[in-house]
């Protein structure tokens, strides 16, 4: 453990700001992101080079420089690895330069996927909380059902997705609901496990205290278990919302759905439109990140309201 430096009157503010930045997370994260971008550009040049050389040869162009090569790799139509700026251009084209209700807009596709994900998230969370409450209050359920819930996670749920979509489609359920079911199935597990942990987290000391007040099980639940579980709930919700989005995307794969980010991924891969694939992936990533951040924001507000540590 090191001691801090003695206080010097009028210390250089710039140096302290720099120290604060580098000792926090902002500068390191920015550095990593910058490094990733550099690697991305380098990889784009490297992976697109054979295609570029191919094109030069077919155009009978013999006098090309390394600069020409790099320039060509940065603007190919169907690159093996699109350069970051190509992806940005595509994103701009499909988000800002197109009306959001058009079928070419990534906003439209993003919303199709997100709406299914959110619906599934809501169902899955509700189911998870109900299951967890049951497991905590009924010991039989804990011993007979909980092991199966845990075992269910070793089943690749996403692998069932095609079947659920097709089967539900054959009895008339199409569109958002089947995808929502897949998302809900993915969501309920982290919520259940997290809530079980949370509802059983109060210390034995606290439980004994409310028993001396002759509290009923319901009172204990609302006054002690539920507030203790909130922290665990939010941690699970962050995992669950990300899973819900994954579920919705995978749900769009099997039947060659026409709308949604998964559908865009699929069509991009069928027609070899790599830039389209990357653009769809980036939007999916941003959507997931924004959703997790939104949950985090709600968490912070709730905890502050409950007097938790900032």
């Amino acid at each position: 453990m090191t001691t801090s430096e003695p206080v010097v009157g009028g210390a250089m503010p710039l140096r302290m700001v720099a120290r604060g930045l580098s000792q926090g997370s902002t500068l390191p994260v920015l550095t990593i992101v910058a490094a990733l971008l550099v690697i991305w550009y380098g990889a784009a040049v490297w992976l697109n080079a054979p295609g570029a050389i191919d094109r030069f040869e077919r155009a009978h162009r013999t006098a090309w420089t390394f600069g020409d090569l790099v320039a060509d790799t940065m603007m190919q139509d169907r690159p093996v690895l699109p350069a970051p700026h190509q992806v940005l251009v595509e994103l701009n084209k499909t988000i800002f330069q197109v009306s959001p209700s058009s079928r070419r807009s990534l906003v439209y596709h993003g919303w199709v996927t997100l709406s299914a994900a959110l619906l599934g998230f809501a169902f899955g969370t509700l189911l998870g909380i109900v299951l967890a409450t049951g497991i905590v209050h009924v010991p039989t359920l804990e011993r007979s059902l909980l092991p199966w819930i845990i075992a269910s996670q070793t089943i690749p749920i996403l692998a069932i997705a095609p079947m659920i979509i097709v089967v539900l489609g054959s009895i008339g359920f199409v569109g958002t609901v089947p995808k929502a079911i897949i998302s809900a199935y993915l969501c309920f597990f982290p919520v259940t496990i997290g809530m079980v942990k949370g509802l059983t987290s109060p210390e034995p000391l606290h439980l004994d205290l409310v028993r001396t007040y002759n509290a009923t099980a319901a009172q204990i639940f609302w006054k002690l278990r539920w507030p203790s579980a909130i922290v665990f709930l939010f941690a699970s919700l962050k995992v669950a919302i990300a899973l819900a989005i994954v579920g919705a995307i995978v749900g769009e794969l099997p039947t060659g759905a026409q709308a949604g980010l998964g559908a865009r991924l699929l069509t991009g891969s069928y027609y070899g439109q790599t830039v389209q694939i990357w653009a769809a992936l980036i939007v999916a990533a941003i959507t997931a990140a924004l959703c997790v951040a939104a949950v985090g924001l709600v968490e912070r507000l709730t905890l502050r309201h409950m007097g938790g540590r900032p």
């Binding site: 580098s22 926090g24 997370s25 500068l27 390191p28 994260v29 920015l30 550095t31 990593i32 990733l36 992976l47 093996v80 010991p139 039989t140 804990e142 011993r143 007979s144 059902l145 092991p147 199966w148 075992a151 070793t154 089943i155 690749p156 749920i157 996403l158 692998a159 069932i160 997705a161 095609p162 079947m163 097709v166 089967v167 054959s170 962050k238 995992v239 990300a242 989005i245 994954v246 995307i249 995978v250 794969l253 099997p254 980010l261 998964g262 991924l265 699929l266 991009g268 891969s269 070899g272 790599t274 694939i277 990357w278 769809a280 992936l281 999916a284 990533a285 997931a288 990140a289 997790v292």
Partner: protein
């Protein structure tokens, strides 16, 4: 337990069932063996109600009673009792459910008190078998179309019939795609975690990025991997590598920071080198976190390998089998494939859990006080 309402429900509904019709197959008197078994169940339910016994005895009795009743109802189903007309069957099923519940509850209590592993494994196993039984009864009893939900017996038949094909799929997905990807992904995540251990700057940068990437729909990179590595197992392994890398990295970093300050100071008082401290203190303390990641990654790897196959694969693989079977509406084969995948996933998870138990036996979560 003098007025055990569950047992009362079981007995009363079971008796009521005797008076109700069984649909096309007639009535209870036409089926002597089933009647005998059912009466045995009623007798046990009544006996347990009026003479409650100790936990183990009750659990055993209710189990035997439930078995008798289950066999009776199953045989009736086979003989043609189904649909809305067979009210007797369904009321009977409710009674049976109540008895099963009592058996499970007594078994759970017994397991909690004796802490006996066989009992604690038997209770969820029995519950699982009960769910399978319900599934069979309800799908056949109500004539659920098998393209919607096939009964377990049909799935078992499909599994047996396609065993050879599924075996090849298993090799493609598990052995060739999942294992190399898992080993490389987890290994790389661990190594990078250890390498950047001495560079807090990189740790502070990679931890948020790693957490973010873990939340992203990584499976989406599958088409890109196919483009880079081709249709065969290499692209699937690549997807698995990316999926398993970040959880392992994040957990390694967290684990390496898990050693308490006091234990770290202890090493300082011995003037231990960085390598000695890492090997003797920090890595053992990090093992629980690393195993957490290994278990999580086993499920992620299987999902990744299978879903990546939805994007294109040579004509073999569990994911391929699922998507083509769905296309042909051969839902029984889909379920059979899922069973293979589920067994694979459980076996892998179980193996890692066993290894975890032997290596981290000292962790508070394992100690049997």
């Amino acid at each position: 337990m003098r007025h055990d309402r569950v047992l009362a429900t079981a007995a009363l509904t079971a008796i009521a069932a005797l008076a109700l019709p069984l649909g096309d197959t007639g009535s209870w008197q036409d089926h002597p063996p089933e009647l005998a078994l059912w009466s045995a169940m009623i007798a046990i339910a009544l006996f347990s109600f009026f003479r409650p016994a100790a936990m183990a005895m009750m659990a055993g009795l209710c189990l035997v009673g439930a078995l008798a009743g289950a066999v009776a109802l199953y045989l009736l189903l086979q003989d043609g009792a189904r649909g809305d007309a067979a009210i007797g069957l369904w009321i009977g099923l409710i009674g049976l459910a109540a008895l099963v519940w009592r058996a499970l509850e007594r078994g759970a209590a017994l397991g909690a008190e004796t802490r006996s592993t066989p009992v604690n494994l038997a209770v969820p196993a029995a519950f699982g078998i009960w769910l399978l039984y319900l599934w069979q009864m309800l799908t056949i009893g109500f004539g659920v179309p098998s393209v919607l939900l096939p009964p377990p017996t049909q799935i078992a038949t499909s599994l047996a019939a396609s065993a050879h094909v599924l075996g090849e799929d298993f090799v493609q997905t598990f052995v060739k795609s999942m294992i190399p990807g898992y080993v490389i992904g987890c290994g790389a995540g661990f190594l990078v975690g250890v390498l950047i251990d001495r560079v807090p700057f990189l740790q502070r940068g990679l931890l948020p990025v790693g957490n973010l990437v873990s939340a992203l729909p990584i499976v989406g990179i599958a088409p890109i991997m196919v483009m880079w590595f081709g249709f065969d197992w290499q692209s699937k392994a690549a997807v698995v590598v990316v999926m398993t890398f970040f959880p392992m990295l994040v957990n390694t970093i967290a684990g390496l920071g898990a050693l308490s300050r006091m234990e770290g100071d202890l090493m300082r008082t011995y003037a231990a080198s960085y390598g000695q401290t890492l090997r003797l203190a920090r890595l053992p303390a990090a093992l629980p976190f690393i195993f957490n990641a290994l278990k999580l990654n086993s499920t992620l790897a299987l999902i990744g390998a299978i879903v990546a196959e939805f994007f294109g694969t040579p004509i073999v693989g569990l994911g391929f089998r699922i998507s083509t079977s769905v296309g042909r509406m051969d839902i029984a084969l889909v379920w059979a494939t899922i069973t293979v995948a589920a067994l694979t996933g459980s076996a892998a998870y179980g193996a890692i859990a066993l290894l975890e138990r032997s290596l981290t036996f000292w962790h508070p979560s394992f100690r049997r006080v």
